[in-house]
């Protein structure tokens, strides 16, 4: 039966016929507005007589940092009549997707707080604004550590202001060390030796997140760098993490697990489980960063009197001739390449991230140590435990290579470490397999 015959005739049918299409059109229009992007109106950035709008996206950040940003933005907006900041917090894990979509669309925020590795990927694509284009950049550059600038540079230009430094150091449970008469480990062999002693007391010498996540890749890289290895070859044409230093680092971890000096379950640990294991006194050592002090005390009630920081141990005999470095992560604040208001955005970046007094005092609540040289001047007081260790580690710091494919490379390394820690393949095979994947990936660049 044709559909129209199934409908009963009703009084006023003609009127319905005439009105319905119009109503349906309106409903459909509204629906399309919901479905299709771009129907929402956004305020013009520069309207005569009104302050210039600068949109800022803060990816990630610990609670203390977020509180500070809120207050600082509010203060800035109250002080400045010419610029108004619109602040939005975003999840740290979504920064790459957000950058990709905003770079493709050519619209989005004017300022972003992101990981330094995106300086290359998005700097070369025009997604980020080269700071060399600002006349006073040399003065700003002088005020921040040189090796921090290296992490945000690509092809001779800089695509973000390094704000927070996150050097990877060894966190040590003093109580465990003292109660067993153990000295601070300097080498991987020292960790093995203390492992045998602690195992008798049902304790682990070392713990780390070893699951299928990027935290795993970071711990591996911290050891790889200490052993003189690199992620990529010098010309970035092939993987180098499967060299002697990489194999030595992964073998070291596997042996710690095999011998019971590291939790067997570490192969499933993400950051949460690892923090719980260390903070509850089940392991003496872990490789972490400046966030550890607040994470372990706030979330697990760890007594900070028992927290000691030290540099990450090195192998007694370096497997590679390269320099021994500390893994360093940098959080940078960048201006997007498509911003219609770069000068105003630069004003905001300087006011909040270079000139603001909060960066002159290293504060554990901010989640990392400042990149500003002035923060380490004589006489500066800080609540940080082991600030000297953190500062020295940062000074010797080396970040992940700023290759556009670095996120994928990290993923392959994490997979390899997890597979080897799970005992499915040996360290060399796992790293070689990952290196083959990375080599194929690098051919695209």
């Amino acid at each position: 039966m044709p559909l129209h015959r199934a409908l009963p005739a009703a009084p006023g049918d003609g009127a319905i016929t005439a009105r319905r299409p119009a109503l349906l059109s309106v409903a459909l229009g509204l629906l399309l507005c919901l479905v299709l992007p771009g129907c929402g109106s956004s305020r013009d950035r520069q309207v005569p007589g009104e302050p210039t709008l600068v949109i800022m996206w803060e990816f990630g950040g610990v609670p203390g940092h977020r509180d500070w940003v809120r207050a600082a933005v509010s203060d800035f907006n109250a002080r400045r009549q010419d610029i108004e900041i619109e602040l939005e917090f975003r999840d740290w894990n979504t920064q790459r997707e957000s950058l990709i979509s905003s770079t493709i669309m050519g619209e989005g925020p004017d300022i972003i707080r992101v990981h330094h590795k995106y300086s290359v990927e998005f700097g070369q694509l025009g997604g980020l604004y080269a700071l060399e284009r600002f006349a006073d950049f040399p003065q700003v550059r002088e005020r921040i550590f040189a090796n921090a600038w290296e992490q945000v540079a690509y092809d001779g230009q800089h695509y973000g202001v390094p704000v927070t430094l996150l050097p990877f150091i060894l966190v040590v449970n003093r109580q465990i060390m003292d109660s067993h008469g153990l000295a601070m480990p300097q080498t991987w062999e020292d960790i093995r030796a203390m492992g045998a002693q602690l195992k008798e007391r049902d304790l682990h010498a070392f713990t780390m997140p070893g699951g299928l996540n990027l935290d795993t890749a970071y711990r591996f890289l911290a050891l790889l760098y200490k052993a003189g290895g690199s992620v990529l070859s010098e010309d970035w044409s092939r993987a180098a993490f499967n060299g002697p230093a990489g194999v030595a680092a992964l073998t070291f971890l596997i042996e710690l697990k095999r011998d019971g000096y590291m939790p067997t379950a570490a192969a499933a640990y993400a950051s949460d489980e690892n923090t719980a294991h260390w903070s509850t006194g089940r392991a003496a050592l872990s490789i972490e960063g400046p966030w550890w002090q607040n994470t372990t005390s706030d979330n697990y009630g760890f007594d900070l009197d028992n927290l000691v920081l030290a540099r990450v141990p090195v192998p007694a005999v370096p497997p590679e001739a390269g320099a021994s470095n500390t893994l360093l992560d940098v959080v940078m604040v960048s201006i997007t390449g498509y911003t219609p208001v770069p000068e105003q955005a630069w004003e905001v970046v300087k006011a909040l991230n270079v000139d603001h007094p909060v960066w002159r005092t290293p504060d554990p609540a901010m989640g990392g140590i400042p990149a500003l040289k002035a923060a380490y001047d004589a006489g500066v007081e800080s609540q940080y435990i082991g600030l000297d260790v953190l500062a020295a580690a940062a000074a010797n710091g080396r970040g992940w290579p700023g290759h556009p494919a670095v996120t994928e490379i990290q993923r392959h390394i994490a997979d390899a470490v997890n597979v080897a820690l799970s005992g499915v393949t040996g360290p060399r095979e796992a790293l070689d397999n990952a290196a083959a994947e990375v080599d194929e990936l690098l051919e695209d660049y």
């Binding site: 319905r20 192969a267 089940r282 997890n418």
Partner: protein
């Protein structure tokens, strides 16, 4: 006037078709097109047409074939266990006369909890040092030392299946309970008079009458389990050693971590084809049975 009247019904259904086209057909078609290209999100030059290149790469990849095996294991082991437990619960609930609504309300809790929450909950329940699973097993003397549930490939899959069964069982129970309440009591009385024992009544009356409901339950549960991402991703992240990396996690990793959107789209198309085939087979079987019954 007559022409307007004839067009009126089509006017009514047009918005529905437009919406369906926009939200279902367009993404599916664009996904298929994407699967035939090497997608370059951020590079100049545009996407490159590579035909079935993404598909051949996927089918030759041990990660993808491994994830298909993981999905099969996850679904084929979860589903029968959840079904048997769900049926048992439904039979018990069917006998309860008072407060049945209250019990079924409680039963829905695992189904109502967000998969992410369920994943975190089970992740910590199975934790080697702090988890309640090890604690109770130790207390009961079933194990002598902590089991590293999520750190060993076979136990990680078992843990994920337990969590999945816990989540899906209520849905199966509710569906079967609804079916049970529609079975006429006379059928049981006749079977009893004919001398059928309990198991025979269960097989020849209960399950025979429930077969369409069971079919629907199996179809939907299979689709949901094969498509499940959040629970298993939160619990194991696909590890250890990719032992629990089911197809949706592989698709996510390929598409959004490695940014191989074309290859990820191809994997999604393959998954869609498998699930569509299952659905078509099921629908044909059910409709044929009904047609045969009508003709008889």
């Amino acid at each position: 006037m007559r022409a307007n009247r004839e067009l009126l019904p089509y006017t009514f259904v047009t918005p529905a078709f437009v919406v369906l086209g926009l939200v279902i057909l367009y993404p599916v078609i664009s996904n298929v097109i994407m699967s035939l290209h090497r997608v370059r999100l951020l590079k100049s030059g545009g996407d490159e047409f590579i035909g079935l290149g993404n598909y051949s790469r996927l089918l030759g990849s041990s990660t993808f074939t491994g994830s298909v095996a993981a999905s099969l294991k996850f679904t084929l082991l979860s589903l029968p266990i959840a079904f048997v437990l769900g049926l048992a619960l439904a039979l018990v609930f069917n006998e309860i006369r008072r407060y049945r609504a209250v019990f079924t309300g409680f039963l829905l809790v695992p189904w109502a909890i967000a998969p992410v929450v369920t994943g975190y909950m089970w992740r910590w329940l199975f934790h080697d040092s702090f988890g309640l699973v090890n604690y109770f097993l130790l207390q009961l003397g079933i194990i002598e030392s902590n089991v590293y549930w999520l750190a060993q490939p076979h136990t990680a899959m078992a843990a994920a299946i337990v969590a999945n069964v816990w989540r899906f069982m209520p849905y199966i129970t509710i569906m079967l309970l609804a079916g049970l309440q529609g079975i006429p009591a006379e059928l049981y009385e006749s079977a009893h008079v004919d001398g059928a024992n309990v198991l025979q009544r269960l097989w020849y009356v209960t399950l025979a009458q429930l077969r369409h409901v069971v079919g629907v339950v199996f179809l939907f549960a299979t689709i949901w389990m094969v498509n499940d991402f959040a629970l298993i991703f939160i619990m194991t992240e696909g590890g250890p050693a990719k032992a629990t990396q089911v197809v949706p996690i592989t698709i996510y990793r390929i598409a959004f971590e490695h940014l191989r959107l074309g290859r990820g789209a191809a994997a999604a198309v393959l998954l869609l084809l498998v699930l569509l085939s299952l659905s078509v087979i099921f629908i044909r079987v059910v409709f044929r049975e009904r047609q045969v019954a009508r003709e008889a």
